[in-house]
Structures are given as structure tokens and as C-alpha cells.
Subunit: 466 residues, 2 copies
């Protein structure tokens, strides 16, 4: 496997150089963060509340990578504070700390997203917890994660963490948010702490199987949590929690495959994948050449926080795929895309655009007398019957006329009945565009990100395999 | 269920009248049969061999129905005669007994098919056996079957047997030959002996489930024979044998469904189903309206005995269906048809005529390192790859260009590689016609039987359900 590992040190140092923030960048981030903390504590004082405002996450741990423009500030209420107080007063304080132009974020728990000098600053109210306690809300663990990593990671390990994060970013599996379904920053940190180095992680990962249990940095596995998980990494700060719960099958497999490929032939492209410049005309040509039907449904992106948006998009997508397959099409591929602001797309690749005007319908076993009688009385004089009823093997069957024969008709008439999630359904009910085949290339012409996404959807090969 | 059973007696007497041979018919058959026996015994004497020539089957048992033009004459060698003698001298004697125009028949065992005054006379050499013995060849049991039924069936039961046979004929399940896969004459006789009357049989059958064991007329079931059979009727003459072994799932289910329907509403149409007069133009119209693709492959019928022909046709058909599905089509229905002399047809109903120019190919789990490496080295730089390789779920996949995209191409190029049986393959290699959609209606215009068969193939509804 490791023929060219001699190239590894120079690749790592190049990557490290690119992802380690400069002294100026650090100073800028630090200034912003301290400003927000000060404002938060001042606001709390005005409300007559005693809280601690603290920088958390990768900035506090000094494991952030230069391209990240995210910053976490926590407003920490004392142990035992009622959750309603945190949700009410905590949010007030967060808004005041954010300054102008904030918006509300919401995962399981409300917080404020501020935009300060090009940085996205998440200001999150939480409740103090101690190692081993049960958290009141899931964010309460974050300060403990910060402390844990700060206490374990020296500057060498921090550099290894940055390199791993950039690797995950390059192969598209960095981030626990639903949009990615990949590996959180904290999980990257745990893996490096456990395996000691970037290549230590990759060597272990390249041998991962399904249902891997990784006990790193004092995280002892609890058997009851292991069932049915793809990857189980006990959180050293709260052993009941699987730090890898968000990792999807695709992200897991991609990380394994990419680790193996990288160790076989280390290359910078894993960290910084080349993005081909793709024009609308190129995409039209590609779509034209592929004889399957690629279909897009574009609509206004619902104004909901990112994780809610992607939860709804993913659920709606899989229900639509099921409904379309139920009609008799083969769904060869499907995906959701959104800029999280203006537009969202459902994408489907189907084996065809239209179906024959009937489908075969299988009824009861001939042996079941009552069921057979029902079947026959239902279909013997039914206008939708094209052929039959007839017996095939041991069962009654009948060929029935279809309501719709084109995918276009099905989408236009049946979309509301496909089990679409609430906010997406609301948006779709206000209108959508149905775009078939090469027209997708034209429709995406003004949106570079969408063009790139569609290119990947058609080409399918991961960038690190090119 | 039995609302209108009051109509039953008059229907039965009408049917009995139509199927019971007249005195003249009996006399004619008797004359022919005795003539053949006399000729056989004379021929044996010329060869210096002592045999017994005997009328067997439904004529001997007086259970034949008027429309049947079949007659069995057995040349019975004494117990212990070597099988080679039977196959050699026996066949010689049979040929001499047949007179002009005979041809060789062959099931498991050679015999002679004579054509005498419009009757098909099977002249079959066999070896005497006694009840309970193991037969040397399967035909050796026939004289015991004749004796058994003659000893049990009085004229009332013989009439019931005739009515049941005509019922089975009407619904298309009469005959154990491979073409039908249904109920032999002897099995009909056993059922009537067991259940006492035509309606006794139907009442029992309408309650049959899968794996029915029917011990009639002293046939005690042997457990070792029961496994996995749909219907097990121990032969009272040889308990090791299942007299219902030839019954296919379709024939079994059809008999049950028709029995139930008949008892619910007795009608002559079950015995003499109306055959709509269908023209080539009607069929063209029907084929045109059905948006699936109906395809016929017509070729010269191989000159082999009926059971060999149908064995090969059925086996070839199911292999072709498998191959066609393997290419990506849905086989909605398939059938073989032949006049057993001039032509044979394979018929397929497919969901479409062409496929997209590529198909998805699923590779190994990403976890399997060696298999993944093989997969990648095979497809990374392969000209047949349209998209990918990519990861879906936990597996490597790749979209590959198809060799052929139309069913026409596939049949023309790949038919020889579909596992066609010998004689059929020989015939196909000498040429075939591929006939698609409505052209089938035109191609069948001069053949009434084929027209009727195609009509059924498209319409699918059994005649007794119309």
C-alpha cells in the first residue's frame, strides 16, 4: 500500500502552511471574539444576571483552519438554571451581544447567528455542566469538549488536527450538519488524539469495517450504545454519547476509500480537489449525452435554519423517490441541493420519461377463497382493466390502466401527496419549476455552485479519484 | 357458494350426452383397436416371441370422451424380459402392427404412433408387472391402471369421469403432457373414484390449499414423497408414485379457481368455452392499443416428439426470459406456442423496446480492500464507463455503457448465447423471424390457432371468466 509515503512529509507541511491561520488572522478573530464576550457579559449585567461568556469550539482550541469563518461564543448560565430562563433571557443577551444584522439559529435549542466582519458568530446560551453529568441541552457539553481538547492537544497535535480537517473537507465529509452528514470538528480532534497523528488516523481508517468501535482518549465504549451503529466513538466527556452518530454510510465509506487511496498514493488533490471550470454549455452537452432522464424540481428555499432545511429536504427527497418508484420508474439517483437562502432543488435521475399505459397488479393466492372473491368482484367489470384477471403461478393478477404515464404528469399532479415535509411543502405549494434533461444546464447557467453540483451529479466520480 | 346448484343436474346430463361416445363410435374404435392387437400378435408370432397385445387407457376403461381420437395398444412382454428386447423387438412388432404412415414416439421409452382412420393409435411395448413391484419402465404400470379403474368404476362413475375430463378440457388443464402440465386422464379417474362424483371432486378441490395430499381409492401417502409437492396423489397401483407429479402451479390454481367459480354459478361455458371469432385485423388493433411491447420469435418447429419439443420450448423460454431481464428489460409475460409440426413461436411481453445507453453496476463493499482495488483498477480508466466509479451507501458503483440498447439487437446478436435447448437451438440457427407489436397480428393471419392463442396471450382472461 504505502509506496509513496516518502512524499507525505512535504505534502503535510504544505497543507499545514495553507490551513494554519496567520498571526494577523488569529489576532482578528481573537478581537472579534473578545468583543462579543464583553458585550454579552455587559448585556447580562443589564439584565441583572450572572453568566460567563466564553469562546468555544475550534477557535478556542486553536484547531480551526484558515478558510473557516465560523466562531462560537457561549453564554454559560450556572448549574441548575431552569431551561426556560436560558431560552428566554439567554436569547435576549445573545441578541444584544450580536449587534446588528443577527438572525435566529435553531438546532435543538435556540441561538443567535451574528455576522461580524465577515465571520459568522454563533452566540449560544447554555448551562454549566460537569464531566459525567447529564446535559440539560446538547450544547451544554461544548465547553467540556473545549477544555478536553485544550488539555490534550499540544501544538503538534493541533497541526495534525488541522491537516485531517482539511483532508475531510477536500473529500467532502467534513461537518456533522445534516447537509454533509459527515465528521464533526470535535470528532476529527478525537481521532487525532486517539491515533496520534494524521497518518495514524488514515492508517486505522483504511482498515475500518462496518460497525467500528473506536475508543480514543479515554472514551470507553458502552455496549448498549453499539447496536446497529456504523461507527461508534464514545465521547470522553459523556460516555453515553456517540460522537460519530451523525456520520452517514456514504461519508463513512468515502472516508475509508479516500484514506486507502491517499496512503497508496499521497497527493495534494485530496486536500484541495481541482474544480473543473464547467460552463452551462458543457453541462447541456453532458445531459444530452446521458440517455437516462435527469429531472430537476426547483423552488424557493424555505426560510428555516440549516439543519431543519436539510432534514426536510432529505426526508422529502426519499419519500418522493419512493413514490416515483411506486409508479413504476427506476430512480437511478437522487439528490437535494440548496444555497440555503434563495433556491432549492430536488434532482432525480430516472430510467425513462414515460411508462406503458398499464401496469401488472398482483392479487391474492388462488387458495384464499374470500380474498379471491373480493379481487374478482373488484376487477371483473372494472374499466381500468386492460387484461385479465388471470392466474399466474398461484396468484390472481390483473393488468390495470395507469392514471399517469409521464413523470411530468406525476410530479405536477401528485407531488402534494408524496409526503413532503412541512416547510418544503409550503414552498412547493406556492410554485415550482420542473426542468427536464438538458434544460437543467440552461436553468443553472447563472449559478456557479449549482452548475458544479449538477456536474458532480452527472459525472459522479469523486474529485480525488479523477 | 352453492346458490344455483339446482342447475347442476341438467348441465351434467347435457354434458354427458355430448361427451359419451355413441354406439357407432364405440364400435369403430373397438374394431380399430382389435385390428391392431391382432396385427401385433401376428407380428410377434412371426418373430417367434410370445407377447400379449391389449387395449389400454381410456378406451379400455370406457372413460374416453367422444372428442378424443387417441387409442392405446400395449404389447406386453412377460415379466423378466430384458429391456433391450422390449426396445428392439418390441418396437419392430409395434411398427408392423401400425401399418402404413407410422412415426416414432418417444417419452422415456420408444413407441410407435400410428394413424388409423383418423385415430392416433399409440402402440407401446412394455413389460408385465404386478401391483407393488417396481416397474422397469414407467409405461409398465399402465395395464395395472386399466385393471384398477375397470374394477372400481361402474357406468355411473364412468359418466362422472367423462364429465370431469370435459370440465378440465374446457378450462385448459386436461393432460399430463408437458404442453399442458395438467391432470392426466388417470388422475381424473382417481379423483372421481375418491370423491364419488363430479361435484364431489369440485367441492373438495375448491377447498384445496398448497401441498394438498389426496389419498383416494386406497392410495396411502408416503411421507418421504410429500416434500415440496403442490399436490400429492399416491398411485394406488404403485404407492411410491405421485400420480399428480406433472401438475404445474398454474394448472393447479386454475382448477381450484374454476371449481370454486363453477360451484358458485354452474354454467356450460366451463365445459365448452365460447371461442370468439378473432380476425387478424382485430388482433392488430389489440396489439396496437397495448403500449407494452409484444414480441414473437417464429421458427421452424423441430421434428421431435411432443414431450421433448415442449420440454425444450419451456426450458428455452425461461432461459431467454432470464437473459432478457438480465439486460434490463421487464418481462411482463412469456409463452411458447407450436402446432407441433410446422412452426413454433416464442412470445414475450416487455415493458419497452429500448433501454438507456448505460446501466448501473454495483461493485464490492468499500470495506473490502482487495476487492475495491480490483474494482477501481478495472473501471478507473475504462472506456465503457459513463459515470463514476462512485460510492453509494457502502458500495462502489459504476455506470457502464450497454452493448445493446434495443431488444431487437439483443435477440439478433445474443440469442445463441441464451442457453437454448439443443433441437430448438439447431432450428433457430437455421433462421427465425422477429416480429414486433402489431405485425404479429398480420404474421398470424393465416393461422387460426395461432390467432386464437395470441388473442388469449394479450387478453389473458380465462374463457370461463368472460
Amino acid at each position: 500500500m504505502s509506496k509513496n509515503l516518502s512524499a507525505l512529509p512535504s505534502i503535510k507541511s504544505k497543507v499545514a502552511e495553507m490551513v494554519t491561520p496567520t498571526a494577523e488572522e488569529r489576532a482578528a478573530v481573537d478581537r472579534i471574539a473578545r468583543e462579543v464576550c464583553t458585550r454579552a457579559e455587559a448585556a447580562a449585567e443589564r439584565h441583572g444576571i450572572r453568566v460567563r461568556a466564553e469562546i468555544e469550539g475550534s477557535v478556542a482550541k486553536d484547531t480551526w483552519i484558515a478558510s473557516d469563518r465560523d466562531l462560537d461564543v457561549f453564554i454559560i448560565f450556572p448549574e441548575g438554571t431552569p431551561i426556560q430562563m436560558v431560552k428566554g433571557k439567554g436569547l435576549e443577551i445573545a441578541k444584544e451581544a450580536a449587534g446588528k444584522g443577527w438572525k435566529l439559529g435553531y438546532a435543538e435549542h435556540p441561538y443567535v447567528e451574528g455576522n461580524i466582519k465577515g465571520f459568522r458568530v454563533d452566540i449560544v446560551p447554555s448551562i454549566e455542566m460537569r464531566k459525567g453529568d447529564r446535559p440539560t441541552t446538547s450544547v451544554d457539553r461544548t465547553p467540556l469538549h473545549t477544555d478536553f481538547v485544550k488539555s490534550k492537544a499540544d501544538s503538534t497535535l493541533r497541526s495534525e488536527i488541522r491537516i485531517l480537517k482539511q483532508f475531510m473537507k477536500g473529500i467532502g465529509v467534513y461537518g456533522a450538519e445534516l447537509r454533509v452528514g459527515g465528521f464533526s470538528g470535535y470528532l476529527c480532534e478525537l481521532l487525532v488524539l486517539g491515533y496520534g497523528s494524521f497518518e495514524g488516523v488514515l492508517k486505522a481508517v483504511s482498515r475500518w469495517k462496518e460497525g467500528e468501535v473506536v475508543e480514543v482518549a479515554g472514551g470507553a465504549a458502552q455496549k448498549s450504545n453499539m447496536k446497529g451503529t456504523l461507527l461508534y466513538v464514545p465521547d470522553p466527556v459523556d460516555l453515553r454519547r456517540n460522537a460519530a452518530a451523525a456520520v452517514t454510510a456514504n461519508a463513512y465509506a468515502s472516508f475509508i476509500a479516500a484514506s486507502r487511496a491517499f496512503l497508496g498514493s499521497p497527493d495534494e488533490k485530496f486536500f484541495f480537489p481541482p474544480r473543473p471550470k464547467i460552463s452551462s454549455a458543457d453541462l447541456v452537452k453532458m445531459l444530452n449525452e446521458k440517455e437516462s432522464l435527469i429531472m430537476g424540481i426547483s423552488f424557493k428555499c424555505p426560510a428555516v435554519p440549516s439543519d431543519i432545511l436539510w432534514g426536510e429536504l432529505n426526508k422529502s427527497l426519499s419519500r418522493m423517490a419512493k413514490a416515483i418508484e411506486g409508479e413504476g420508474f427506476q430512480v437511478l439517483d437522487s439528490a437535494a441541493w440548496s444555497d440555503e437562502a434563495e433556491i432549492a432543488y430536488f434532482l432525480f435521475e430516472l430510467d425513462r420519461a414515460t411508462l406503458p399505459n398499464w401496469r401488472s397488479h398482483t392479487g391474492p393466492m388462488v387458495y384464499l377463497a374470500a380474498e379471491s372473491d373480493n379481487f374478482l368482484s373488484k376487477y371483473l367489470k372494472n374499466e381500468d382493466v386492460v387484461s385479465g384477471p388471470y392466474i399466474r403461478g398461484s396468484r390472481w393478477c390483473v393488468d390495470l390502466r395507469r392514471r399517469f404515464t409521464s413523470i411530468e404528469e406525476i410530479i405536477r399532479k401528485d407531488l402534494p401527496r408524496m409526503g413532503i415535509s412541512k416547510h418544503v411543502a409550503d414552498s412547493l405549494s406556492r410554485g415550482f419549476d420542473l426542468i427536464l434533461g438538458e434544460s437543467l444546464g440552461t436553468a443553472a447557467s447563472s449559478n456557479k455552485e449549482l452548475l458544479a453540483y449538477l456536474y458532480d451529479f452527472v459525472r459522479k466520480k469523486p474529485a480525488w479519484l479523477q
